[in-house]
């Protein structure tokens, strides 16, 4: 087991500086993921980070583990193969809102349905940043993007609800303003034996904020601070007061059998049966 006493060892420092724009929230999320890994005491040798395609998915290149930067939308499929082939590995998936909610949406549903022990962290910057600012499934209704120049006609989407309904046994949401909460949610996701989904709301001042006149990065962080309400606090609030707010915190935590464990039990059962046959 390779333990680490210094969080810097979790980074490939020689690959820095990163490619993200000034003011991008992705670095904060990567930091939160690393802190969660570090504080959870995961064995670095037994931890694999998988990503798809997009701004957020470039994170794997900077992280010092076995890392896999896959095809657009497909990170969860590769991660499923890794986890099923080697259940002893901790598998963390870093993905974006386009990667996970659009092109990869079906894989999210089915991995959640199987409750396979993956930890999916979805960076939600509300936009396709790498291609220059097209709307994604997570772009709120009415917002401007290069492909919604008259305002987004599509409805605002709650992907945490989707993950929960599809069968994820752990679901959380935080933001790049609420970093300690984000770290805690990711730690709980790692701890959960089953499919865990954490939505990390990020900021993209360049390709999203600018077009929608949301101000610079500090201003966008302030917006997150003012509009996020913890789910526990929300339970005691009047619906009126929650009108233009969104919820953060632990959205769901349930118990369900985990897929690779069921498969290993099947193998054990079949192989025990085979031994009997020989006798």
């Amino acid at each position: 087991m390779q333990t680490t006493t210094n969080i810097e060892n979790l980074f490939r420092l020689n690959r820095l500086p990163h490619i993200w724009c000034p003011g991008c929230g992705n670095g904060i999320i990567v930091n939160a993921v690393q802190k969660a890994i570090y504080e959870s005491g995961l064995d670095k040798d037994k931890t694999v980070i998988v990503s798809g395609i997009g701004c957020s998915s470039r994170a794997t290149g900077y992280m010092n583990f076995d890392t896999l930067h896959t095809a657009h939308g497909r990170a969860i499929t590769f991660a499923t193969g890794i986890k099923l082939a080697r259940p002893e590995l901790n598998v963390i998936v870093l993905t974006g809102d386009g990667d996970c909610a659009a092109i990869g949406g079906n894989h999210l549903i089915h991995a959640a349905r199987r409750n396979i022990d993956l930890n999916v962290i979805m960076f939600n910057n509300s936009i396709y940043g790498m291609t220059g600012g097209q709307f994604s499934p997570m772009t709120p209704h009415g917002r401007l993007a290069t492909t919604s120049p008259y305002g987004n006609l599509e409805r605002t989407f709650d992907i945490c609800k989707l993950a929960e309904c599809a069968g994820a046994s752990y679901v959380g949401r935080s933001t790049v303003y609420h970093v300690q909460l984000l770290v805690n949610l990711i730690k709980k996701a790692i701890e959960n034996k089953g499919f865990s989904f954490v939505e990390a709301i990020s900021i993209c001042p360049i390709s999203y904020g600018r077009r929608n006149k949301l101000g610079d990065a500090p201003k966008m962080l302030e917006w997150l601070k003012e509009h996020a309400v913890n789910i526990k606090a929300a339970q005691k609030m009047e619906p009126e007061k929650l009108k233009d707010k969104f919820l953060i915190g632990e959205m769901y935590h349930g118990e369900a059998p985990e897929y690779t464990q069921l498969y290993d039990e099947l193998i054990a059962k079949l192989q025990k049966g085979a031994e009997k046959d020989v006798r």
Binding site: D45, D66, L68, H69, T77, F78, T80, G81, H110
Partner: protein, 380 residues
């Protein structure tokens, strides 16, 4: 003692599955599709018995994604599909080629394009097997002409993918996939099984895409402490992305040509009655069988015909084609498509006048009589 090695009646898809197991495949991910489904069914039943893993994914893209993921952990992995699913897999087949992850994709060919004829045979994915994914890339494609070959060549396919770190396309067709034949499988201890080369250096010294004279980099299993990066982006020998033109050129030149020095061992074929042949049939897969029947019947009539059966389709065996077509009065390419393999033969021999196409695209097998008629048209 009776073993499964005794003579038995086996279906082509089953023989392929057995070959995969005997070659050491311990992971299967895929999506049901006719006429390949028996492979998934076999794997679902047999893999857990030997400690392997089967998973039915939500689509074929997920199937090949999971296979590549499993392969990165050091597990031999395979998926099976047919035309529409094979089309869906193309992007990740390119990923496997680019990142040099060993895996086998069985494509039990059916009629296309589109849904085409799900239960009808065709051999029309020859070019897709070679060029289905975007960009230049190395690939190996094998095609069996019998149930026994479905077994033996699947083992070759797994071995090739491991040794050369390439995706290998296994081009079955509906006829061979669903054909039942009596076969006697070779004993397990007679089989040559190849495992990928692993690094012998420490993780600190490991460069995932650095090569020796073999041209094939050593591959660490995920989970062994090597902490390496795998990306479909252009990358340097550390595995990290690069935009440097000279590095990209060096890496891609090696990638595109890494199979060149192994051409002879990758090229598999069989010949029938070629020694004194004046006319040559070139075929593969199920059409080999009609061709072989035609050779026998034509020879009974005194027409000296031979048959070259290609088992390796890609890389295209130019040298074999050149050798066997030398001094022939006529060459006939027999295939269930509109002339895909024939394009390569034509390119190789450069003499159109020598060539005749024998094609069928209606989902029915090419009959020996159809081949006989065409040969006679030219020969008499």
């Amino acid at each position: 003692m009776k073993t499964k090695r005794n003579a038995q009646l086996l279906q082509g898809n089953q023989a392929c599955s057995l070959g995969a197991l005997d070659a050491g495949v311990r992971f299967y991910a895929g999506y049901p599709i006719t006429p390949s489904t028996e492979i998934a069914e076999f794997m679902a039943e047999e893999l857990p018995k030997v400690g392997g893993k089967f998973i039915q994914m939500e689509d074929e893209i997920a199937g090949i994604g999971a296979v590549v993921g499993a392969a990165l952990t050091g597990t031999k992995a395979l998926t099976a599909t047919s035309g529409p699913g094979f089309s869906l897999m193309q992007e990740i087949i390119g990923f496997a080629a680019m990142t040099e992850v060993p895996c086998v994709i069985v494509n039990v060919q059916r009629m296309g394009p589109s849904t085409g004829g799900p239960t009808s045979p065709a051999q029309a994915d020859i070019m897709q097997a070679r060029w289905g994914t975007h960009g230049d890339h190395p690939v190996i494609a094998l095609s069996p002409g019998s149930v026994l070959e479905a077994y033996t060549l699947t083992i070759k396919a797994v071995n090739f993918s491991e040794k050369y770190r390439v995706p290998v396309i296994f081009l079955l067709d509906e006829v061979i996939g669903h054909l039942r034949e009596k076969v006697v499988l070779p004993e397990l201890n007679e089989l040559e099984i190849i495992d990928r080369k692993r690094p012998t250096v420490s993780p600190e010294q490991y460069k995932p895409y650095a090569v020796d004279e073999s041209g094939i980099p050593a591959m660490a299993d995920f989970g062994q402490g090597y902490h390496w990066h795998v990306t479909g982006l252009n990358h340097d020998e550390t595995g990290g992305p690069t935009g440097k033109a000279d590095v990209i050129n060096q890496q891609l030149s090696r990638l595109f040509h890494k199979l060149d020095q192994y051409r002879d061992e990758i090229t598999l074929y069989q010949t029938f009655d070629v020694e004194d042949a004046e006319y040559l049939l070139i075929s593969f897969g199920c059409s080999t069988r009609s061709s072989l029947a035609a050779v026998e019947l034509l020879r009974n009539e005194g027409i000296k015909v031979g048959l070259l059966q290609l088992q390796t389709i890609w890389p295209f065996p130019d040298h074999v084609i050149k050798d066997f077509t030398k001094n022939k009065k006529g060459v006939f390419v027999v295939e269930m498509n509109d002339g895909q393999l024939c394009l390569e033969v034509e390119r190789t021999i450069g003499n159109r006048d020598l060539l005749s196409r024998i094609n069928k695209i209606n989902g029915e097998l090419i009959t020996p009589q159809e081949i006989i008629d065409k040969v006679k048209e030219v020969a008499l």
